[in-house]
Amino acid sequence: MTSLDVSVGEVGAGARQRSRKIYGRGQGRVVPGFRLSLGVTLLYAALIICLPLATLIVVGARLGPAEYWAVVSSPRALASYRVTLGAAALATLFNTIYGFALAWVLVRHEFPGRRVLDAVVDLPFALPTAVAGIALTALFARNGWFGEPLSLIGIKVAYTQLGIALAMAFTSLPFIVRTLQPVMEELDGEIEEAARTLGAGNVTIFFRVVLPILVPALLAGVSLAFARCLGEFGAVIFIAGNQPYQTEITALLAFIRIEEYEYSAAAAIATVMLGTAFVLLVVTNALQAYARRHELTP
């Protein structure tokens, strides 16, 4: 901005005056549209994003502490947190390994079909969650392509917590891959080469050189993916079985409370989900800020 002010100053006070007149009181801003774009963004953010969420919090708060606590700590709610957190943790663990390997292969390997694989990573973004849900259920049900052989060795996927984790893993995969990919691309091999000339082996290079650089981005992707898993609904409900206390996720419990016209109970459970999402968002942003401060290139 400073160099910009100088250049405007060189053109002369008249031009500066003119730009002020055209673009409003932009404190010497030359790029136009500040007030219009910010105005539209703020209005939209307030009406579409903030108003509904604020209303939810108010409705939840109106319940009063005792009743609120009774709803959010009821045995069925607690069981749903356990199911959701457990499946989300399993899904995120799977995606951390698989997503890391996938991003690595996309960045470091040249092979026919790399572009196709790169496009396929976005499929869980583009495919409706309900479609993913019925497709995974068809595959992993006891008579499905994968469900049948798995049931022979005693593994049940559909209608168990494993199925919930699978659906969550499907929908949250792109978050980890797409967060890692750009950072891996910056890692251009010079540091690894330096480590190698200093006598480090492959394993040492990976764990002591490569991984530490990627960890902030990896953690940011992991927390994004985990948040997504906790909120997933469409893909999960088809494969989950939805038995209270066993395979009922928190989002479904909130949904059921709405169907039963138990609006305040639904609001209380929804605020727990919203609060968790907020916490994870703060964690993600902190990790991303940390990653930016410790950028690889000086």
């Binding site: 953010a45 509904p52 390997h109 969650t129």
Partner: protein
């Protein structure tokens, strides 16, 4: 491209470990992502193409497709304009609260669609914030088209902004500054200078937003009221057919949505090719 080629990476890609890694990634991808796509089409055609087409031609399915298209016609342009405005204000300017605004814009990504649906119910529903007012004026938002549109708008809000933000930040302000000092006014600068720079990213954002709008399920299932042939969007219709044990019909409708997703990815791949050659 030279920087991306294998040799300049300084990584000696020798031997079997490279192929084991590549092979296992491809295998897992085939199982986790490839197989579900294939399964949708195979299940849809399990009773023959005629049955699949017949179930797509059913009035309720046609109504669901049409409703989803109407929602997309409203929501995609709204979120495109919002995405451009948000990316423009956040990428091109520095102001207090900028980071907070960015977090708010990205918030719908982290919030469960179910939470979004419930929140909208408390704003526009019968017992909600505006409920009495809406009732007095005989306006129906929940369990009707406006509610579906609003909830979908929330869930898909960040898609265009998220594609544009990194692009605009990378390109900086210099082009716009030059245009402004040469006397271009605001809209001229946008349409002639900025838009050509961001058009491919914008197009992908729009296409992806469109796919998400057509596929939104959780939020819409709270606010739609699920009236067959009236307030059922295509994904809700898939669920209804599925629970009616009409698997062929459910997968036929799902195949339509899968085709939209595949076209979205095709557009993305083509756009990347075009913009890397530009």
């Amino acid at each position: 491209m030279s920087a991306a080629s294998g040799t300049s990476r300084g990584q000696p890609q020798r031997g079997w470990s490279r192929y084991v890694l590549l092979g296992s990634v491809l295998l897992v991808t085939a199982i986790v992502i490839g197989a579900p796509i294939l399964a949708v089409f195979i299940q849809a055609l399990s009773q023959g193409l005629a049955i699949a087409l017949e179930s797509l031609a059913h009035p309720d399915t046609r109504a669901a497709i049409w409703l989803s298209v109407v929602v997309a016609i409203v929501v995609v342009p709204v979120n495109t304009l919002f995405g451009i405005a948000a990316a423009w204000s956040i990428a091109k300017f520095r102001f207090p609260g900028r980071k907070l605004l960015l977090a708010i814009v990205e918030l719908p990504f982290s919030v469960s669609p179910i939470v979004a649906g419930i929140s909208y119910l408390f704003v526009y529903g019968g017992q909600g914030l505006f409920g009495p007012f809406l009732e007095a004026h005989d306006l129906k938002i929940m369990f009707a088209l406006p509610g579906i549109i609003l909830a979908t708008t929330f869930v898909t809000a960040p898609f265009v902004a998220r594609e544009l933000l990194p692009l605009m930040q990378l390109q900086g302000n210099s082009d716009e500054e030059v245009a402004a000092t040469l006397g271009a006014h605001g809209w001229q600068t946008f349409f002639r200078v900025t838009l050509p720079n961001i058009r491919w990213g914008l197009l992908y954002g729009v296409v992806l937003c469109n796919a998400r709008v057509l596929g939104e399920f959780g939020a819409v299932s709270i606010v739609s009221g699920n009236i067959r042939g009236e307030t059922n969007t295509l994904p809700l219709h898939v669920e209804m057919l599925y629970h009616d044990y009409n698997a062929a019909g459910a997968f036929a409708a799902a195949a339509v949505l899968t085709l939209v997703a595949l076209v979205t990815l095709l557009v993305k791949t083509l756009l990347e090719r075009v913009s890397s050659h530009a």
